[in-house]
Symmetry: D2
Subunit: 302 residues, 4 copies
Amino acid sequence: MDEKEDLLRGENRTDLALEAGERLQNENAVPKGLRVETLHAGQAGAEVTRAYVESREAARRMGKPMGVYITIEAPDLAGEDKGYHREVSGLLSRQIRELLPKRRDREELLVVGLGNHAVTADALGPRTIDHLAVNRHLLSLFGEGVKEDGFTVLCAIEPGVMAKTGIETAEVVASITARLKPDAVLVLDSLAAGSVNRLYRTIQISNTGIAPGSGVGNHRNAINQETLGVPVIAVGIPMVVDAATIVRDAFRGAGRRGGEELNRGDFALQKFQNMYVTTKEIDEMTERLSFTLSEAINMLAG
Amino acid sequence: MDEKEDLLRGENRTDLALEAGERLQNENAVPKGLRVETLHAGQAGAEVTRAYVESREAARRMGKPMGVYITIEAPDLAGEDKGYHREVSGLLSRQIRELLPKRRDREELLVVGLGNHAVTADALGPRTIDHLAVNRHLLSLFGEGVKEDGFTVLCAIEPGVMAKTGIETAEVVASITARLKPDAVLVLDSLAAGSVNRLYRTIQISNTGIAPGSGVGNHRNAINQETLGVPVIAVGIPMVVDAATIVRDAFRGAGRRGGEELNRGDFALQKFQNMYVTTKEIDEMTERLSFTLSEAINMLAG
Amino acid sequence: MDEKEDLLRGENRTDLALEAGERLQNENAVPKGLRVETLHAGQAGAEVTRAYVESREAARRMGKPMGVYITIEAPDLAGEDKGYHREVSGLLSRQIRELLPKRRDREELLVVGLGNHAVTADALGPRTIDHLAVNRHLLSLFGEGVKEDGFTVLCAIEPGVMAKTGIETAEVVASITARLKPDAVLVLDSLAAGSVNRLYRTIQISNTGIAPGSGVGNHRNAINQETLGVPVIAVGIPMVVDAATIVRDAFRGAGRRGGEELNRGDFALQKFQNMYVTTKEIDEMTERLSFTLSEAINMLAG
Amino acid sequence: MDEKEDLLRGENRTDLALEAGERLQNENAVPKGLRVETLHAGQAGAEVTRAYVESREAARRMGKPMGVYITIEAPDLAGEDKGYHREVSGLLSRQIRELLPKRRDREELLVVGLGNHAVTADALGPRTIDHLAVNRHLLSLFGEGVKEDGFTVLCAIEPGVMAKTGIETAEVVASITARLKPDAVLVLDSLAAGSVNRLYRTIQISNTGIAPGSGVGNHRNAINQETLGVPVIAVGIPMVVDAATIVRDAFRGAGRRGGEELNRGDFALQKFQNMYVTTKEIDEMTERLSFTLSEAINMLAG
């Protein structure tokens, strides 16, 4: 696609299917095969939205793979009220459970914390792993009784980032999945939102896995059921906004002519590739939200 | 000042006097009392610029306190060549030395690492402290011989950030300075540049200290000779760009009409307050540059 | 004191007054001026002991300054039950409150996290600070209403360690206390126990402050009411055992002749100076207990 | 083996083959199949020892698998002289090269940083990974020219620790090795020395890999050529001493009768399992030595 055209159409990069769907609605261009349900959760003042992307056309228009995308919008999630966070953890745990394969007598989940532990805005996945109550290594202690009840085995890895390992993250995850053969893989990641207002307040759960770099199609580097051979549930929270996004938003705010100027001018949005926007309280947000995610996953097992 | 007017005039926030001076030059509006010298350092392919802000009018127009601002532009500073970084450390050390008070038989320097150790983009100051070869606590071992030669005593603190301590950083620094009575204070900080191109490649050394939140005037929270009672040398490297800055740059790139739209529209740059832009390699940059700064300071002492 | 004699008498270094008192009891040598009360807390299965060291003789024999030492022994404190930790936080908060000066309309507490953030076994103090809900910087928001109720102002510092700063920790604390003039200082520290069994399960609260290097007497480096001019409450949890201690324990376990051999031989316990023993789960213990301490302190304010 | 007998014989746990060999020499019990060569390196004042363990009997007596163990004893390695550390990196790099398979036109090395990033005394492996110049992900940029010269491809992983992941470390390493098929695996680890004097000053390189928990035999959890299918070079530096070791040393220092008492008494060395001794400067040591290791590995790649 022509970059100029892209700028004119003003499609912000967003990892949130909810935002992609809203854009199509605003354009009166909701495709066949995109179905959205909204419900009030009754907890944490949260709104839960489910977007079903059920056709190739819908996937192309959304810029997201076909599948189910659940979004929890929890207005006070950026705050520090622990009771509130516990409520959200419970709500999140139930939403993840609905996307997991039906539990056999015993299920085994591999949790993957994507991102860079050393970069605060990218550390949500790894820090969540730090707080998990993994138990796979204790299995021999539980003995045979384990088979009788519904029992969830948890294990976890931090694959690191390619710049530090020299290895595609997807390769690390695929090789460990191939060996451990879990019933499902849970992939945790920091997301990019298309709007500053979604930061720290929104959780997306999907059964489509992660396709780095693009939404549609099969990629060598995707982490999904096709590449891993088991169901992959992705859970993420927007922690950053792309630098290019806030520039586009500004032009949009400035009216039509501003946008035209943007495309006519020599200004290159590409120069913002690899740059992102975040806020000064990012360390507290990462710390707090990594607990909320880890609690939700621990509840799956407990 | 009216915010609209500010947007129209397009003054980006920058911590770099060099950028503030360039803006005035571009506007053919260099005030009396601003004098700039440029020299090629002969090392590291670096250019060294000295800006002397010598009148109140120049300070007001620059948005910076009166004083001397030395800028080292080292084109390969973002790279990993250790020999190059050593050259820059040597060059930086000599520039700091020129702003320090003439060394007595013995001098004592207090180094202050500003910023938040837990936020990668704000950790340059604290991480530099981690690498310093402090020696003040060893003084009793050196004994009387110390007095005869030029000898530099180093000590250092990380005052932390107000959100974590509840205390103004300037209060922490002032109280320790009052007790230790050093000959000078070196304040290290992550800076915000007015342009993405300056990130990680520019070092600013000034004798004006740090005036959080604004450039001109005396503030309760300033860390400078007036508030501390001893010379204060500030050393910083731009690690981020304000979110508002990249938006303004985009409008500027889009031409005059884009800028007018920005001001006419309801788009509020204020919403980007507290947000900053950085790049994905910020952890490596902080690690690398904190070593370069620490080496320069260690050379002062040795 | 002669080192040989010291070895023979087998006095382990311990930061816990409780252990020092037990040793004297075991030797039937409880001095006048040492009074011990024990009570079952009714919470968390914890036992609370108060030792009153009320004479110089008692202080000398205990190896601790005169004052009150409260010890909470909470058997499950090393575990991960969050409800249990909340109970202990509540109990601890009330014990700290009893040692604080009677609250005026408004009180201001300065919390000091001693230790090295970068050494896991020494990081309890700094990590507790990370979790505190400081509010001193928000005071202007609360306005005048603050004066009417009992209101606690919290602020905090991490003074760092002398090897990194070149400054005596006591100097850093004294200079900030002199400026902020809090009603009391709370000093948090990792302690050394005299026995492996006390690790992670015991909390000591005292009104004697901290006297690094030795228990009795006035030291330049002490952090106490005498040096700071305001009440100093020290709170600590044993995270390590001195290397020399476990060697002595072994000899004691081996019987009298083992101990005699120790003193006769050329084996030097001094070589273990600066060495300590800890366990492989130290990172989880530090993380968990820093939350428990921070909750207790946050309860003081709220 | 009977634990009492073990205590009596006073066999300290050590990860260093050099120490195991010295013990046998002191007992005049050097077995057939153990051959030791010592040479002065001519650099860094270092002594290089090679122990060839060439028979099952020798392996049993050493408590180490059959193979080659190279030890570099560098007296000033705990110091901060960067030139000295560069010399040791060069020496280490050449010793590793000698144990690697002969380089084909192109070789690929997988580096594994064992240990817990969050526990300072166990973080040597992971922190070395942080400093590596990995290049495998850049291969497509190098293109075909790569095949003509000797070219080393580096990639790296931090498998984490079982308590955090729930997965045996050996499983993580095996699964990634199976996928990447490197020419060799380099395993980096913190070691336990049998004596305080060896801490931070000794580097061991061996071609036997790592067999957690025991020296001889094939274990499910071993990381070696047998389990991975490619040569495994282990590189380690002693950062801790087992708690039980310093107790035994004390008894040994106290003479024969002390040792007898130890065995006769009810004192259980087992209680020190899972406990280790380290020093207060462990953070600086880990930081410094992780650079020295990473430089040596980066030199392998050119």
